[in-house]
Amino acid sequence: MSDDVWILGIHMTKFGKHPDLDTVDLASEAALGALSDAQVTMRDMGVLAAGNLMAAAAGIGQQLQKQIGQTGIPVFNVANACATGATALRTAVMAIKAGEADFGLAVGVEKLAGAGLLSGGTRKQGDHTFTPHGRYGAVVPVDGRIGTETMPGVFAQVGMQYLFEHQYSGTPFELFARISEKNHSHSTLNPLAAYTKKMSLEQIMGDVMIAYPNTRPMCSANCDGAAAAVVVSDAKLKTLSKEQQRRAVKVAASILTSDPWEEACQVLPDVNTLTRNAATQAYEQAGVGPEDLDLVELHDCFATAELVHYDNLQLCEPGGAVDYFESGTTWRDGSLPVNVSGGLESKGHPIAATGIANIWEICQHLRGEGGDRQIEGAKVGLAHVIGLGSACGVHILEKAAA
């Protein structure tokens, strides 16, 4: 008997536009789906961790309980930007590892369809006279005057910074567009993706430019969706049915990091160090290396972000992300498929749901239930999300031993 934690059941809703479903509808669908997949009920849960960024103060956990079962268990409403889903799962796993629950439920949900451009800063109205406000003593909002607060622009710089640091001499726009081409191609096999249309390189590069080099299809798709997972302790799992044990997926590593201080992090978020740290801790906790992975679902909030995470997650040699991508390795027929779900660019990014939805994808393959997009023989997968501020969640999942 170990102190391992297992995913017993997991579910994601179709990502896309759900105008007739509110946030709690989506969360309920995901949660009830996960409970059903786990063959347990809300009464079995000892802890609930839930996240919803758009209405973070509203207490999505308790709102959900009112729709699926008010059992009086501890509720942790969590928020870590785009790493919220992974944070919810981390919280439930932590409660079980602490011995405070046998079963836990983690839920992430977002309604973001039609949200438009997301940005990190605030654009408050200024006074009629120029008076310094805030920690920078700004007399008017600085967005657009000192750099950009918009997510596509921030992450465009992240990708371009990598190319500068590694003396890239090719065409940045085409390189990043080809990453997007891969993910849009992958999504054609995923019926739950928000977008399932193949897009040619020309279509991607010819689409609306948002922040060079990110065009619209190279940006994560704003949509509605939810995902939920039921986790269980190893001790309790051993008392369940053979089928529940057979389909359980081991959480070999569950890691959360924030960004350690680094010289430039105040002017451009450093999404690299904290991801590298999370990956290192995850590989150590799981007792595996990147060479053991069969598939990866990483945080392609923008095509420019995916490139740097090949390096940060140590899938390639340091500095080798461009060659790694150009070798074809990360396509679904390559040696380490990345984002076979379609990624955030095509599957979609309902923010708080993503950190559990990408684990759902990995579980489909580990259970042999991946259908048309099954990666044959998948035994070990890695899921990664990163939210600005910053927080990084990395989970390593392993198929149950036969």
Partner: protein
């Protein structure tokens, strides 16, 4: 009368940026800090940031919040070891003219005038 867009831009004499430098470890910050995020120190001193640097990252923003004129070039400039955020200006905003690694220098530009006639002045980086 002129006021700087942000208080870390100093307009007296040659316009330049001033950072708060932690007296314990040398970490530099542009905004007001309660303690040093690197070492926890609570003493800072003002230091001038070199006005010339190298462009190490950029994006050309075509789509921004209402009221923000586009396109504009947002970038990160390495000013002899201090990374600075700023717009790249006085250059065609396209990848043919904005080049990673290009040398740039600090410059200023007018932001606008308020109801009392005070002019706000911003900073950016232009090709050196």
């Amino acid at each position: 009368m002129q006021v700087p867009l942000v208080d870390y831009l100093v307009l007296d004499g040659e316009p330049h940026l001033v950072a708060h430098e932690c007296t314990s470890c040398g970490a530099r910050f542009f905004d007001r800090r309660n303690a040093c995020a690197s070492c926890g120190g609570t003493e800072f001193r003002p230091v001038d940031v070199p006005t010339e640097g190298v462009l190490e990252a950029y994006t050309i923003v075509s789509f921004a919040a209402p009221g923000v004129p586009v396109p504009f070039v947002a970038g990160i400039v390495d000013c002899e070891g201090t990374s600075v955020r700023g717009n790249v200006i006085n250059v065609e905003p396209d990848p043919e003219h904005v080049i990673l690694g290009m040398k740039v220098k600090l410059t200023t530009f007018p932001i606008g005038t308020d109801t009392e006639g005070t002019e706000a002045v911003g900073y950016g980086f232009e090709p050196a």
